[in-house]
Symmetry: C2
Subunit: 359 residues, 2 copies
């Protein structure tokens, strides 16, 4: 965890019209990439500020575009996870699942991926081959082709082995209308399974933690589960989101802000494995903020909650799906959690950097 | 320039079925990203070997996909240019032009871009704002929107300020059929202007060279010029390519190999500024191998050469366009140059690394 030091924090007078909230930090901090408050500020003030357009302002996992007579989903993600290999996955499979899932969260069927590699001089060719093979297997399993690519090599000490960007293209079926702005009071909040597994699996390698059973990443292609959810829930499925960086807390905060609604979660309902809970306690993490790579949040009309929950549970990736809360009229833009003993606490956006380079 | 050292070159026994020509180099070399022979080997043996599919095997600047009822171009590029600011441009404008041009080289109208940033902790926020503003201006000028994005932050010493991936989506009009495999004997080879300008502009900053006039990058959006070429040449325009990394020589070698044809260039016809020629001599570069970022090669049926040349010259970016050679029956897969004095020499693929991190 990195705190902005005195040296790097302070007012700055940009010659250019840099948006103010960014200029509180004259240099980029790790937390600007952590999926929490600073990430959000950077994206909203700097990138949306510069590129501002209707698609980008949706602040969705991907853009929805009308091209020709088709409705397309288009989404990009760079992967810088450290270490590159971890239990149950690696940077290659993660790079495929991450983008395929972002496409799926737009309610789209993934069609094609691009892959951009930034290699550091000296990377072992065998490792690159293992990563590429892993990407290929993940893509095949997801029924999507890597159709175009790019490779750059940077000098030793200017990278970290390999960084991978994948960008995906998907096709949205008629009648599907997924957008964070569609969350409305009364909707139920569902999650497709156990929280915090990816983050803890990666951290366990970094920190040398050992579990009684190996804790593997949950990284997986969520499209088949999403297809089932859409088939069953139709237009009553309002929002889909995979809670990666910043976890469930950050994802729900973003949606609450965009839709201008409140959310209330029930601690009792959160699916959380005992070993993950224990690791979170040891490491000082709140599992609501830890990254997931194979879990899906769905916000659905109340009358559809039971059937969507059943649809999730019929799929192997959704066996432990649960309704974890509801969208409410009160406290718009804020997420509250009712604890096991009945107390209420605010679940804010992540404010610092909890887990750098988790994806 | 980096030569594979003894330590890093030698046979290797991959546990996995790594394709042999790659295993001559057990680690990644700078030349694997240089756009020449090693780049081609890495792409063909490793990436196409792993991901092999019809779109990728085209080895075009981008993939052509049928999605719904539309024909789309889809292309990705990462930008790692060093330094980030150079005369006439920066990594931001380059990242927009590079991908917009790859889309245009598929004969497509650019529609949307994604932007993936990999930031190094400690990057000046003002610099990031300048780069973003430059991207925005380039995108506006190209009539394309940045509709989705991603930001990752890596720790100090694991990046180099900022790397940018852009991925583009374009729409191909009916009747347009651009593919490297369409080059056929008799076709004329055209270039839209002066060679080697981008590479020399960047190198002049790195090496502290001074010219009588400032030598600015040629980085520009080529779509308007391409639209004019397609309007005039129609289906008689067979191949389009922007000769970036590896220059005109590498681009034409790739096309010659893919189409199974030979090419013959005329040294006398190559558009080359005196100051660029001089700088190439000082630096020991062959201008045929130096990167361009605002030039387009067009391979067209002989009867269309005059009208396509006229179309190029009517556009500000094509004032100095020229016919520089022809596609021939002889020496398939090879490019020859007839020198000023009439001698013939082979123009091979770039074999080492001439200019690392030029784009």
């Amino acid at each position: 965890m990195k705190d902005p030091s005195d040296e790097s924090k302070g007012p700055i007078d940009f010659a250019l019209s840099c948006p103010l909230p960014i200029s509180d930090y004259p240099t980029v901090q790790l937390a600007h990439g952590g999926g929490g408050k600073l990430s959000q500020l950077l994206i909203e003030k700097l990138f949306v500020g510069a590129f501002g357009n209707a698609a980008l302002e949706q602040l969705h996992d991907g853009a929805v575009l009308n091209v020709g007579s088709s409705r397309l989903a288009f989404s990009t993600d760079s992967f810088v996870v450290h270490p590159r290999f971890f239990p149950g996955g690696d940077i290659g499979s993660l790079a495929v699942h991450g983008t395929v899932n972002d496409i799926a969260m737009c309610g789209a069927r993934p069609v094609a991926l691009s892959a951009g590699f930034i290699l550091e001089e000296g990377l072992s060719m065998e490792e690159l081959w293992r990563i590429t093979t892993s990407m290929k297997e993940a893509a095949e399993e997801a029924g999507v082709e890597v159709v175009t690519g790019d490779t750059k090599v940077v000098d030793r000490g200017k990278g970290d082995g390999v960084y991978i960007n994948t960008t995906g293209l998907g096709l949205i079926a008629d009648g599907v209308e997924i957008s964070p702005r569609r969350a409305r009071p009364g909707d139920r909040v569902l999650v497709s399974g156990q929280l915090a597994v990816h983050g803890i699996a990666v951290m366990s390698v970094r920190e040398g933690l050992e579990f009684e059973t190996v804790l593997e990443t949950d990284s997986a292609n969520l499209y088949p589960l999403v297809a089932r959810v859409l088939e069953r829930g139709g237009s009553r499925v309002h929002v889909l989101r995979d809670p990666t960086r910043g976890g469930v807390a950050s994802a729900l905060n973003e949606i609450a802000t965009q839709a201008g609604v409140g959310m209330q979660l029930e601690e009792n309902s959160l699916p959380l494995r005992e070993d993950v809970r224990g690791a979170c306690e040891i490491l000082g993490f709140d599992p609501l903020y830890v990254a997931n790579e194979g879990k899906c949040l769905a916000i659905v009309a109340p009358e559809a909650a039971d059937s969507v929950l059943a649809a999730m549970r019929e799929h192997p990736l959704g066996r432990e799906a649960a309704v974890i809360g509801a969208v409410v009229d009160e406290h718009p833009g804020k997420v509250y959690l009712r604890s096991r003993v009945g107390g209420m606490r605010v679940v804010d956006m992540l404010s610092g950097e909890q887990l750098p380079r988790i994806c």
